[in-house]
Symmetry: C2
Subunit: 792 residues, 2 copies
């Protein structure tokens, strides 16, 4: 397992102090670099050993058939899978005749560092070849946040004890062998040899390769060039073939002498542009990289990140692991989104091929809420991407016999790729999640342009979907039947509270948006009758509540389902050991569902209802999804279980850093990475925005002495500095004397840009005692306390 001995807890970096080959795949995910366009897994420079080789371009996918032994109407016939594209990371080294390979000879020193402020991955190794020659290798890798198409590697080799002949082979490799996936259904299907060679060319001290996918017909280009510095004689030659380009550097080094190579990489792809156009685009990007130079790229990277952290950093005093994790999470969230620019954010970013590289609701409900407060321009881009798929979503709705637009549960390009409809097509809530992401962006940033440009249409078309999907019963109550909410252990149900509240929000938001843009709405065929129907459905929506128990029902009848026998059936994750046919009708919950509703539709529940609901659902939630701990943290904090909230925060924080779900090898869990911020800021910070007002209500668990976070609201930046006793709000930007009225602990508070405001913390006593969890699913902190071996 990944533990502190090897990965020390440090505030601004992740550092590996020993190379453990059994953790290679996991660390490749942790050390992945990306800018949202290019993604490079943290594979070793020399190409092997590897866990999973991975080089990705956002939106670049191949089509794969979706097989069905028993097919049904409306099942998508083709899926989409992220492709492992041409690998430009490979730099092989020969020391005399011996290939540098950590499995041979002796590794005298090893360190890898991912630095959140400089945005680079550094690897320092000292190696003794089987023949006794020692070298020091230091490679530094970055994927540029400033230059979207560019990545670069500085590769330094130093001879230590003897003269050595050094050969470096720097490569572009297409169609790498990738390992077969396991039997775990969540692991993405592996595609073999996805790329057809189109062109190969030597350019400068490097080469350019162009390839095309067979079925999806997308074209991509990868190019490399090199700067070489070395004291003595050196020979550099390049060979380019269809699937392999190689630049070879040969020289001799006396002890203390160094060879320095800077490898510039450029990537591009297009579904439209011609081969020459794509060729030139990537060649130009490569020229741009050389023009900036290695130092220029490093400097720009640092500047970009300084700007980001200034409005996004979260400081946790008294929680070193949370401190590291929240920055690690924010760094990866930024990497996944910074330069995505009208491409989706996949559930695993560009850090692995898990979930086929698909984007899910994770993006709208976990990643975008964080980015909206910290990097809103990235949110606008993702929203524009969604809107660009509207036509496909309309076609899908029509195919399903519905009005409006039905966005896909999982996709890369916009087509539905769900082969299991009960946890795909039936998960209608993603449409409301998308609508809410548009609304949240507008509310938090104050930017109306995205709504005008494309959001209005999305709101209208999703509203139309809901109205055609739902129905009023003979008493006028509005129902949504046959839906699957967030909890994937309870599917195809009636009146899932989360879905119903979110749909109602979608309907109201659409009606409000039409009222704001009456001409545009009229042009889209919206009548006052239609708007009235939306509001009518929203106000008549059924919210199941068990009067006897005094708790909400996750869905109709939920609290009367059979109880799950956790004493017997507790082999987690349950989906790998128990059939859906028994999971679905039992009171066993994969992930926060009703509890998630209480987060995003906070105003629809009283504090007492929240307390009772948390108490009820905590006992039945197994957290077999990484999209749960953070939400449980938020609600536990709200109802006063601060210690439990801290445990959940801790678990969300360590999901990938400690590989808690045993699948970090396939890529990072972006939602859970964002979730650490959510747990801290929405949980202990009390951030809510579901009524259009910035609401905060900080209260800290015993372990923390201070929580300081920054966020953007409209044209302001705000620093919230909370201790156990009071909170200080510092408003930045805006004009001098500008004010902002927020809600602090339920009461209005007006801030101004002249001076900070300090207010006392509202005391918080829980209504009910700390609830227990299902056997074996106590949050991590507790389990560690009780059984330090529990992670092994």
């Amino acid at each position: 397992m990944i533990n502190e001995d090897v990965f020390p807890v440090e505030p601004w970096q992740v550092r590996e102090t020993r190379l453990d080959l059994s953790l290679l795949a996991q660390t490749e995910s942790l050390f992945a670099l990306s800018n949202g366009h290019i993604g490079l897994r943290g594979n070793l420079d020399e190409g092997e050993p590897y866990g999973l080789p991975g080089t990705y371009l956002n939106g670049f996918y191949e089509v794969r058939p979706l097989p069905y032994a028993e097919a049904g109407y409306g099942y998508p016939e083709a899926g989409q899978t992220v492709v492992n594209v041409t690998n430009g990371k490979v730099i092989r080294l020969l020391v005399d005749d011996e290939p540098f390979d950590v499995r041979y000879g002796e590794v005298l020193y090893h360190e890898r560092v991912l630095d959140f402020r400089t945005g680079k991955l550094t690897r320092r190794t000292q190696w003794c070849s089987p023949a006794g020659k020692q070298v020091k290798v230091c490679s530094t890798r970055l994927v540029s946040l400033a230059q979207r198409s560019v990545a670069a590697i500085e590769y330094l080799v130093e001879a230590l004890n003897k003269f050595v002949r050094i050969t470096v082979q720097s490569e572009l490799v297409a169609n790498e062998d990738i390992p077969q996936s396991t039997g775990d259904p969540r692991v993405a299907a592996v595609l073999e040899h996805p790329l057809e060679a189109v062109e190969h060319e030597q350019i400068g001290r490097g080469a350019l390769l162009i390839h095309r996918t067979k079925a999806s017909g997308l074209m991509m280009a990868a190019a490399m060039d090199h700067e070489v510095e070395v004291p003595g004689r050196v020979e550099v030659s390049t060979d380019a073939r269809a699937d392999l380009a190689r630049t070879t550097v040969i020289c001799g080094l006396r002890p203390g002498q160094k060879l320095r190579i800077v490898k510039y990489l450029a990537y591009g792809w297009s579904s439209l542009r011609s081969r020459p156009a794509l060729h030139d685009q990537v060649a130009a990007a490569l020229t741009g990289a050389r023009y900036s130079g290695w130092q220029g790229l490093l400097d720009a990277q640092r500047v970009y990140l300084e700007e980001f952290w200034d409005a996004a950093d979260v400081e946790v005093e008294g929680g070193a692991e949370c401190q590291q994790a929240v920055r690690f999470g924010m760094f990866h969230v930024l990497q996944a989104s910074a330069r995505a620019e009208r491409r989706p954010i996949p559930a695993k970013g560009l850090t692995g091929s898990g979930y086929d590289g698909h984007t899910f609701w994770d993006t709208e409900m976990f990643v975008l809420p964080v980015l909206t407060y910290t990097a809103p321009q990235a949110v606008a881009d993702v929203l524009r991407w969604r809107a660009s798929t509207l036509k496909l979503a309309q076609q899908r709705a029509a195919q399903l016999g519905l009005n409006g637009a039905r966005f896909p549960w999982r996709t890369i390009h916009g087509e539905s790729c769900s082969s299991y409809w009960p946890a795909g097509t039936a998960a209608w809530h993603i449409n409301a999640d998308i609508a809410m992401a548009f609304e949240r962006y507008r509310t938090v940033t104050g930017d109306q342009s995205v709504e005008k440009e494309c959001g209005l249409k999305v709101l209208i078309e999703t509203a139309r979907l809901w109205v055609s999907l739902g129905h009023h019963d003979r008493h006028g109550i509005w129902h949504l039947d046959g839906v699957t909410g967030p909890d994937e252990y309870t599917a195809i149900v009636r009146d899932n509270v989360y879905t119903n509240l979110m749909a109602a929000h979608n309907l109201r938001a659409a009606a409000d948006a039409c009222a704001r843009h009456p001409d545009a709405a009229r042009a889209l065929g919206v009548t006052t009758d239609e708007m009235a129907a939306w509001r009518n459905a929203a106000s008549a929506v059924h919210i199941p509540y068990d009067e006897e128990l005094g708790v909400h029902q996750q869905c109709d009848g939920f609290t009367t389902f059979a109880e799950w026998d956790f004493a017997v059936h507790n082999n987690y994750p349950l989906l790998l050991h128990e059939p859906y046919v028994r999971l679905y009708p039992a009171q066993v919950i994969k992930q926060a569902d009703l509890v998630l509703a209480m987060h995003w539709q906070s105003h629809a529940f009283t504090l007492e209802q929240k307390a009772r609901n948390v108490d009820y659902y905590e006992r039945r939630t197994v957290r077999d999804s990484s999209l749960s701990a953070c939400t449980q943290a938020v609600l536990c904090a709200e109802v006063g279980h601060l210690d439990l909230a801290h445990d959940y925060t801790h678990e969300a924080a360590l999901t990938d850093l400690r590989d808690l779900h045993h699948n970090t090898r396939d890529g990072l869990h972006l939602a859970s990475l964002a979730g650490t911020w959510i747990a801290l800021v929405a949980g202990f910070g009390g951030l809510r925005d579901d009524q259009g007002v910035l609401a905060l209500d900080p209260k800290l668990p015993d372990a923390f002495s201070r929580l300081r976070f920054r966020l953007r609201w409209r044209n302001f930046r705000l620093i919230v500095d909370a201790t156990h006793t009071d909170t200080t709000y510092t408003l930045r930007d805006g004009g001098s004397g500008d004010t902002l009225t927020i809600r602090h602990a339920g009461k209005e508070l007006t801030l101004n840009t002249c001076s900070p405001v300090t207010v006392p913390v509202r005391s918080c006593k829980p209504l009910l005692p700390r609830p227990p969890q299902p056997s074996g699913r106590e949050p991590l902190h507790r389990r560690l306390a009780m059984d330090p071996e529990c992670l092994s």
Copy 2:
């Protein structure tokens, strides 16, 4: 389409008067011959043209992978598919040098007749070759009901206008090419080259081929031998190769001269026996066939059928189509079961490869009820087959985390083969259906031996399944959640009435059986506590009822689901045009479900409830399944809609004879064939047995002047002769003066073997007017009356 012009309505046969190549596949199904062990589709002797070549051995299957794009725990990885085995039907004819092929030359006369009393298929053709030579060909084919492993063909060729050289090639062909299946998900997956050659040998004037399946490892043997009669010189030679054996007969015929060949076929297969043992078994069967001779086989066939019809015939005066159809249906039901002998009865018998050759609940709930009254020994064999799969069913239950036994929704060998669990694993009712089949057999025949031998164990293990699947809520009510009832357009629901009543019946039957066999029950670990728990669950079972509407709910909440818009969404069958995600939560019903419950659990509903329920569900049932019309006929008859019941009877009757579901090409619908009997005998005859008493209540629709049917009850045979005014019961067998008390029109009536009893018919006035059906789904008779083109 198949219509009366070409297929005249005749009481004891199906006759085709013109060869229409576009109907070839359908007629191959209609003219299929079988004895439950061997199945021969009605392919033309000369092998082509064909719709679907088909030769089947009951239980002989190949394993196929079941693919999943998104897999889940407990999904079966391997399916089973019926294999098209070595084809022994092929007899090619050359007239001089011209192959006899109906697509060339001219067919001067064509007739095929399937005779229900002689059990043979006769084909008479007169053909003029392209060279102007005319021949008459008459072939007669049978699959012996008396000799299980034997089939035979008499092939006669007569020269008509000129001298001809005649060459006949009689073959055994393994691994025939079979056409690709269509995009219809219900069509069975096609397996190519399923057989590996093991042995080939020439024997006598014929040959023997042995093959083995690759994955399932089953071995089969097919053998042929020939008798040849011809006036002049004849040469006969045989050639045997791995996948083909051919006996060639050459002779010359002057006009009026005839060549007569009798081809004897023998088939066998085994999963256990050695190659030599299987070889000898089939060789012996072939010898047995020759020993009986053609006439001997014909005679035995007629005797077998006379005996059958004597206790099974149904006579309908005033309903010529129903008359033909009920006998056609009974004939095929007998063919599917007569000599199955501890093998399953597939949904399509051995008439085609549809549904992969699987057996479903169709057998227990539609086919066995008919056979129990007409050929009970076949029922005992099928029940023993089910019981022989108990171990697999127990393993499946354990895999699903449940107690007892979980029989497969679809299978050949006993393993679950359902790849779509919402309409497979969730269809728990099959377990109660099986239990009821055991109970019905015991009740109707009075034979306790099957229960003792294996039925008790099945009842106990299915009862254990139900108890572990269901749960008592906090008010003590017992629920079955997450189940799919018969209606496959409403799945994964709570408290399906059919399932709940059947499960309760299963639980009570198990407890009663244990009380009958206390020692055996104790040996199986049954305690009085366990029996009490069964009875307790049965008596606390929830039966959802809508007080406001005064109707039962097919499942919890059903009557409050959205109404389906039949005016817009009426492209039938809906499953090919509408997604499950919309079908499931709407009030649209594929097939009788609540209505089926009212048939088999008749006593659980008052007559008024039945009338209201029929009225409600008629309006919402689209009959996209062939397992519906007969049940609707039964209940419509009971509540007094005799004319509507007649329409449904008519539709059930014509399902295959007129190819109403457009898939008769893949094989016949055994359940619907049995359904004609059910509609007539349970519908107009009023037969019920759900309280252990033979209950009858005849009443005829206007169109019929008389309905006379025969059935077996305990050691009696009974003839029921009903007119519009009265019913005459004639009790046969038993000792002289033996009596039987039945229930006639709700009142006890004692019959005796001395003299018939005549009683008046109970008049029947419907409570409610005839209900309408969904647009476009009025039963056939009506639609024909309104629009004679509706079938085109």
